[in-house]
């Protein structure tokens, strides 16, 4: 008896987005990274094409994040310098690109100036030769000041810059168009708003083929299932033909995991939960693994062991 073909047939392809520029392309990166291009859901290689594997961006910040000692120890003293931290991510952890968060610009942290931030961007670009993702500090008003200078400092490097929200997208579009960078569009766990931000970017004259979506990220136990569902729905809708959703997706797993009590508090606070040393990195790795299934293309990760774990998963399943 012939076995019927029950595979899904998708009609659309997710946009391919390339980050970074080599010398020949006007930048100084040793190689570029391309994400997207799928014609099927994650892992379903028998139903369609997955031309580019998901990638890992090493989490780096301009100031040491409020992280538990277990994580700071795992990364080592390099965490105190964005340049050394980025170098360690590339050389020792083998990440595909660097995700630089300018936390220090936050008025409640260091209130770093736009030129200080731009200097960090320049230094990191000089120190490593992988493509770069640049995030503001999350304070819209301050980001509107620092991102233009950072974007200029990275001109020609075809960075991925985040993030464009409903409230600030005009500035981000203007600088990314001027300096030829790619954009992260952000909507907080809201698929309708996510689509709307993409429409706004398009209306402002930015090509959606240069956009990566950020549905924001939730750690396991903190709305993880909501984000998972949104990412999965965005991907399947994109594959069905909605060009506004046929966009690669990014998850900040490192940034989110290490804020929650399960990844911060040791056994003295959470009796019966096991040693934090193991638990925290497992929490990050598990989140990363499941977001791969939801349809993420870029995972921003922090703990070296969690990175190693997800690298193995990607190698094995894609």
């Amino acid at each position: 008896m012939q076995v019927p073909d029950v595979g899904e047939k998708w009609t659309n392809k997710i946009n391919e987005v390339t980050i970074g520029a080599t010398k020949a392309e006007g930048g100084t990166r040793a190689k570029t990274i391309t994400v997207g291009g799928q014609t099927t859901l994650p892992f379903m290689t028998f139903e369609g094409e997955i031309p580019h594997k998901p990638v890992i961006a090493g989490y780096v910040a301009d100031t040491v994040p409020e992280w538990p000692d277990v994580l700071k120890k795992a990364i080592g003293q390099e965490i105190n310098s964005p340049v050394e931290w980025a170098q360690k991510c590339v050389k020792e952890y083998g990440v595909d690109l660097i995700s630089l968060k300018l936390l220090g610009a936050d008025p409640t942290i260091n209130d770093a100036s736009p030129s200080d931030c731009a200097k960090v961007v320049e230094d990191v670009l000089r120190a490593v030769d992988v493509p770069l993702i640049i995030w503001g500090c999350g304070d819209d008003e301050k980001d509107n000041l620092i991102l233009p200078e950072c974007s200029q400092a990275a001109r020609g490097e075809n960075c991925l810059i985040g993030s464009a929200k409903e409230s600030n997208y005009r500035t981000v579009v203007a600088i990314c168009k001027a300096d030829k960078h790619k954009i992260i569009s952000e909507a907080p766990v809201d698929i309708n708003l996510g689509k709307q931000v993409n429409i706004l970017l398009q209306d402002a004259g930015f090509d959606l083929k240069d956009v990566v979506m950020f549905q924001t990220t939730a750690a396991l136990g903190y709305g993880f299932d909501y984000v998972y569902t949104i990412m999965e729905r965005a991907r399947s809708t994109g594959l069905k033909g909605d060009k506004l959703m046929a966009v690669p997706q990014i998850c900040d797993v490192g940034g989110e995991t290490w804020r929650i009590k399960e990844a911060i508090a040791d056994e003295d606070v959470l009796p019966g939960w096991g040693k934090l040393e193991k638990r925290g990195l497992l929490w990050e790795a598990v989140c990363g693994g499941v977001y791969l299934q939801a349809g993420t293309d870029i995972l921003v990760m922090a703990h070296p062991e969690a990175i190693k774990n997800i690298q193995k998963t990607i190698k094995r399943f894609f």
């Binding site: 309708n192 709307q196 429409i199 209306d203 909605d242 506004l244």
Partner: protein, 260 residues
């Protein structure tokens, strides 16, 4: 929703004259207008202007010079299709075939060979069906033949045959029932299409009747429609019905975004 623009049709006086005078600009203009309005196919109908395959091919070429939207060849004669299908740059939609055995055996091999799609009218040699059951029976015959020629369900657009509301008011409900049953034929299902404007023939509220009926059809599985794609309110109603059926994701600017 798959929108099939109906305007390059010799039933319209300007198109008929354009065919007779070989005035390609008129055809190109209508092709462009419909493509700008996001038609997924441009229906090309020679009507009574000519019976020559070369005239049909000329019309297709004019459309293809203006836009890269796929063609819906509105003709059911093998001799015409044999000439017209190969010149289409993208796999065309053949409009249409009835549930008549010899007709199916004549047209489906050509359609299958070129990986084209076809509209299957749920009527047979006895004429237009009166009941949902008869429509389903006819559609079933076409579906079976499609399988026989190893075509996939996605290459078939089943048409429940829309009748004028004013003259055959009892038919609308039969059409809706038939459409909902067509979608059960297979998984993934074949497409369900209709020539929408038939419903409002002879009425004083054509546009209102068209857009009311199309939303009801969408609720019953319709996913393709031959229409006046320039009727903005009609297209807006279709986009909204697609949201209500959860076929696309809501965004505040969903109407404006469609035309971008």
């Amino acid at each position: 929703m798959i929108l099939i623009g109906e305007r390059v049709n010799a039933g319209f006086k300007d198109i008929k004259e354009a065919i007779i005078n070989k005035d390609g600009d008129v055809i190109k203009e209508w092709a462009k207008k419909q493509a700008d309005a996001k038609a997924d196919y441009i229906d090309v109908n020679l009507g009574t202007a000519s019976a020559k395959p070369e005239d049909l091919c000329w019309m297709i070429e004019m459309v293809q010079e203006a836009v890269d939207t796929p063609i819906s060849i509105d003709n059911n004669k093998a001799v015409m299709l044999k000439e017209a299908i190969p010149i289409c740059k993208k796999p065309p939609l053949v409009n249409s075939v009835t549930a008549v055995e010899e007709k199916l055996n004549e047209l489906l091999p050509i359609v299958a060979e070129h990986k084209a799609s076809i509209i299957g009218l749920s009527m047979d040699e006895t004429g237009s069906p009166k009941t949902a059951d008869k429509r389903v029976e006819n559609a079933g015959k076409i579906f079976e033949k499609i399988m026989e020629y190893e075509m996939s369900p996605e290459q078939l657009f089943l048409d429940p045959i829309v009748m004028p509301l004013k003259f055959m008011q009892d038919q609308a409900q039969e059409i809706l029932k038939a459409a909902s049953q067509f979608s059960l034929f297979s998984d993934p299902p074949c497409h369900i299409v209709c020539g929408l404007s038939n419903i409002s023939t002879g009425t004083t509220q054509k546009k209102l009747i068209n857009r009311t009926f199309v939303t009801m059809l969408i609720a019953n599985g319709l996913d393709a429609v031959i229409l006046d794609v320039l009727d903005e309110e009609l297209v807006n109603a279709i986009l909204t019905a697609d949201l209500i059926m959860n076929k696309s994701i809501y965004a505040d600017s969903y109407l404006g975004a469609f035309l971008k």
